[in-house]
């Protein structure tokens, strides 16, 4: 009996011809159920869907559970696991030296809001073209569960310790400091987080995403404000986030009265279906006000709070040579003869 072998179905590929497998990373060593793993999944999906060339990505992180996670996605990219709280400056140096790389930073709440606060603040000021994700669980996991500076006042640890200091709102801070795409999401909110990450990839300046990501071991219980339960009960989306990438030429009708459409620099559209009245994501003052009001009410506001797709980025402002400094041929690394003569003449 003659049989014809059916060829195995070709794996599904994205617009640059890569299967999703090429966007995956090593096996996670984080706890089962850790919100960080869900974020890694969303990063994989969004990079795949946006058709990003993995080798052009520079993953950057500090130290902590969050900062381990770049090992669990995009193995085909370059990765720099730096020192606790120092990723912002490492990223700045690396991206200034090679502005053609896409910077994807993953930090945690300790890494950002405590030991790295000085660096974080100055990174936001620069509007460096990169995505900065805080995997925010309000707790230090690797050192066995101490409060971080994003833990809410009155929040309780498993051991019964109550947090006696108010939380730092990294989103309000980022908006005030000059980041041009600021949002908050929840690791369990697959749809919202994916849309926000894709929009983040399309954005040209600094994207700051604070993603609440419950720590199942130390901070996922009654009394914690960073638990799955608390988030399910208190998450209040400011708008439904939709994203249409530039390569999907879909015209979508939308109700101008209830939807805010932001045309991104690369031609994509970020579409925010308003849930809060009068919400305008291009108004910094309103964005900060909305965040402050939500705190008063004990709500965790999520969504894209602020976006400015046009503000020049750090690398644009610096008026750099077209070629990345890092790959200049050796003969172009030294000042020209004319410049040297000028320098020497002034010494005489």
């Amino acid at each position: 009996m003659a049989t014809t072998a059916t060829p195995p179905p070709a794996p599904k590929v994205n617009r640059i011809g890569l299967p999703v497998l090429d966007y995956r990373g090593g096996k996670t060593t984080l706890c089962a159920g850790c919100g960080h793993n869900a974020i890694s999944e969303r990063i994989i999906d969004s990079l795949y869907e946006m058709g990003i060339q993995p080798e052009r990505v520079m993953k950057l992180s500090g130290i902590g559970c969050s900062s381990k996670s770049p090992a669990y996605f995009l193995s085909r990219a370059h990765s720099f696991n730096s020192v606790h709280g120092r990723m912002p400056s490492v990223a700045t140096g690396a991206l200034l030296a090679n502005k053609t790389m896409m910077g994807l930073g993953v930090s945690g709440d300790g890494d950002t809001a405590s030991i790295g606060m000085g660096q974080f603040v100055h990174l936001m000021r620069r509007n460096l073209p990169m995505i900065y994700i805080i995997e925010d669980n309000g707790v230090y996991g690797l050192t066995k569960g101490q409060f971080s500076a994003t833990a809410d006042l009155g929040s309780k640890l498993k051991t019964g310790v109550i947090n006696d200091l108010p939380a730092i709102d990294t989103c309000a801070l980022a908006i005030q400091l000059g980041a041009t795409f600021v949002g908050r999401s929840f690791s369990g909110d697959k749809k919202q987080l994916s849309a926000m990450l894709k929009a983040a990839i399309a954005h040209k300046g600094t994207v700051m995403l604070d993603v609440i990501s419950p720590c199942v071991t130390f901070n996922d219980h009654e009394g914690s404000t960073k638990s799955y339960k608390y988030m399910q009960e208190h998450e209040e989306a400011i708008a439904e986030v939709g994203f249409v990438p530039h390569f999907e030429d879909i015209s979508v009708d939308y109700d101008a009265g209830s939807t805010f459409d932001v045309r991104m620099h690369d031609g994509s559209h970020l579409r925010l279906h308003k849930l809060h009245e009068n919400y305008n994501p291009t108004d910094r003052v309103q964005a900060v006000k909305a965040l402050m009001e939500a705190h008063e009410k004990g709500e965790v506001l999520t969504g894209v709070f602020y976006i400015d797709p046009e503000k020049p980025t750090f690398t644009e402002l610096l008026n750099m040579v077209d070629d990345p400094l890092a790959t200049l041929p050796q003969e172009r690394t030294r000042p020209s003869k004319q410049v040297l003569d000028e320098i020497m003449n002034r010494l005489k």
Binding site: G93, L95, L96, R334, P335
Partner: protein, 592 residues
């Protein structure tokens, strides 16, 4: 004795000490003379005491010397503090309207200028400075034309009336002195040589440009800020990315990020800023990303004495960051060497993918020296070591960033190259960069990686030369110094020779690698050894002992903020040879 002439100009900060200093320096260098300038100043914007010493002569002038030939006090305070430094043959030019001279030593010529009679002081507040400059040059036997052209250059950005006014004032001072004061017996010599005059900080920055540095960042800190200023001023022309960063923690990590991406990255600071950089230095070592950090030492600890010099940071450099790792530390010997050393240390740091530390100090950083223009070679060899800069197909996973090799050096790929994607980690890692302390710690891999990194030490040792003995082999005493004391020790040896004491010198430039065996080999042949250093505890003496068990016979140390003068060392050597002591701490004779 070397023929030299020293001018001291002093006043309060803001009184305009710097401008006459610049003008004298230009005139001297255009006469083909060598010069050395040292400015003693305080941490204050206006007021306080600033005292600039410019020493010039036809032969190399390596330090500020022992005496002043001409004093120009711009205020009473300077007159009171410094008049006693003048000895017979010296002169003091001052504003007779505002300054009382006091009693000088015998043979010192007082030269009062009736400033309000010679100039309209309501119009020009620094008239006394310009008059004094003119007077000084007349007494030194320098033609007026030299001053006129430098003044025109100095004020080139101002309108012609300003230039004319200053030239006329200088001419008035010049003529007044010709008629009323006695000229110095020997007019200032002239040669056909032409030197470049630059500060140590400018030399460090220019050395960076010559080394192909494309990224420089810093946080302002005296006395290293001059490097940042040079870089910022030349950033656009020289195509160097220059950033002022929020703190030194940011500085070193930004430099590491840039170096990781593939450029040569450099930064400079002083001891306090370096303390913040320790953590990043460890990252450079662990991630095997070469960076060059310049430490311009000032007197410590803590904020210390921000405007005064010291060689007190050696042990901080030796112990910076925890754990064992290869590093390179070198101390430039003079301002010209500040330039030369940078490309050299970059080559070693890059070949061995480790941090390189330049241990400079305020004396060199802020001092100025005449240097042979040929010594500033902007085309020194660039050796970036085993570096992969072109793509290798599109493969993934084969490249091992931390490949275990015999030399300990793993070929370094620039991020962004297809085929060479990799992970860099501050955690201990396996050959592929993946950390090894996650689920369990792999002791075999940890040991192998530690040994790989430390194998680089042998290569580093071989890449820097051991020090060499200078001076007569059959000397009565060997003076051992490191870094910036090269010139002053050399002159002290000349003074000793005139008094019949033969001294030779071992000056250390490479601190790591030290070449301990070579040093001990040299010192074995010495009759007597004395270590000279600008700190309290004898940091180099202790380091040499810890590495080689070598004990010097004596020590000369100074930690009052001011640099050594040649006679400090010469006199200390004499008292030690006479058996009076084994530890001399010369006193600085004047409060500056």
């Amino acid at each position: 004795m070397r023929q030299s002439f020293a001018i001291g100009i002093g006043g309060a900060a803001g009184q305009g000490v710097a401008t006459p200093g610049d003008i004298f320096a230009k005139i001297f260098s255009r006469r083909g003379l060598h010069l050395n300038a040292y400015n003693a100043y305080q941490s204050i914007i206006r007021g306080g005491h600033t005292f600039l010493t410019i020493r010039t002569g036809p032969e190399k002038v390596t330090n500020m010397g022992d005496r002043i030939d001409l004093l120009i006090p711009l205020n009473q305070d300077t007159m009171d503090r410094h008049l006693s430094l003048l000895s017979a043959g010296g002169a003091c030019i001052y504003n007779a309207d505002t300054i009382k001279p006091g009693t000088p030593a015998e043979g010192v010529q007082l030269c009062p200028l009736p400033v309000s009679k010679l100039a309209d002081i309501s119009k020009n507040k620094v008239a006394q400075n310009t008059l004094a400059m003119g007077a000084a040059l007349s007494m030194m036997g320098v033609g007026f034309q030299a001053l006129e052209s430098v003044l025109a250059e100095q004020f080139r950005k101002k309108e012609q009336a300003v230039i004319d006014e200053n030239v006329n004032l200088a001419r008035t001072g010049y003529d007044y002195a010709t008629q009323n004061f006695q000229a110095f017996p020997h007019p200032l010599p002239m040669t056909d040589n032409r030197y470049a005059v630059l500060s140590g900080n400018a030399a460090l920055a220019m050395g960076g440009a010559a080394a192909g540095v494309k990224f420089y960042c810093a946080y302002p800190m005296s006395p290293s800020t001059g490097v940042l200023h040079w870089m910022a001023e030349h950033a656009r022309k020289a195509n160097i990315m220059v950033r002022q960063v929020e703190d030194e923690i940011g500085v070193i990590n930004m430099a590491i990020g840039a170096a990781h991406a593939g450029v040569r990255a450099m930064c400079a600071t002083s001891g306090g800023g370096f303390a913040l950089m320790s953590e990043g230095l460890g990252l450079s070592a662990m991630a095997e990303i070469p960076v060059v950090v310049i430490d311009c030492m000032r007197a410590g600890p803590s904020t210390g004495v921000p405007t005064k010099t010291e060689q007190g940071d050696l042990w901080q450099m030796l112990g910076a960051a925890f754990g064992d790792y290869p590093r390179v530390i070198a101390a430039p010997l003079d301002i010209g060497d500040c330039f030369t050393l940078i490309p050299e240390i970059f080559n070693i740091a890059e070949r061995f993918q480790c941090p390189g530390i330049v241990l400079c100090d305020l004396l060199l950083s802020e001092g100025r020296l005449s240097v042979e223009p040929q010594a500033l070679d902007f085309n020194p060899p660039i050796d970036r070591g085993e570096m992969i800069t072109s793509a290798n197909g599109n493969g993934h996973g084969e490249y091992k960033r931390y490949l275990i090799t015999e030399s300990g050096v793993s070929p370094r790929a620039v991020p962004g190259l297809p085929g060479y994607t990799h992970t860099v980690s501050s955690d201990e890692h396996a050959e592929d960069g993946v950390l090894i302390s996650d689920e369990y710690t792999n002791t075999v891999k940890r040991r192998a990686m530690m040994e790989k990194r430390m194998r680089k030490v042998q290569g580093i040792e071989a890449s820097a030369p051991p020090p060499e003995l200078q001076g007569p082999a059959d000397a009565d005493v060997t003076l051992i110094g490191w870094g910036s004391t090269q010139g002053v020790i050399e002159e002290a040896r000349e003074q000793l020779a005139e008094q019949g004491i033969k001294a030779n010198q071992l000056q250390i430039r490479w601190l790591v690698p030290l070449h301990g065996d070579a040093i001990v080999g040299i010192l074995k042949g010495s009759r007597r050894t004395i270590i000279v250093e600008n700190n309290f505890s004898g940091q180099f003496a202790r380091y040499l002992r810890s590495e080689t068990s070598f004990l010097a016979d004596g020590h000369i140390r100074k930690y009052d903020g001011e640099p050594f003068m040649p006679h400090h060392i010469a006199e200390a050597v004499k008292e030690q040879l006479a058996g009076e002591t084994t530890l001399s701490i010369p006193a600085h004779e004047v409060m500056v």
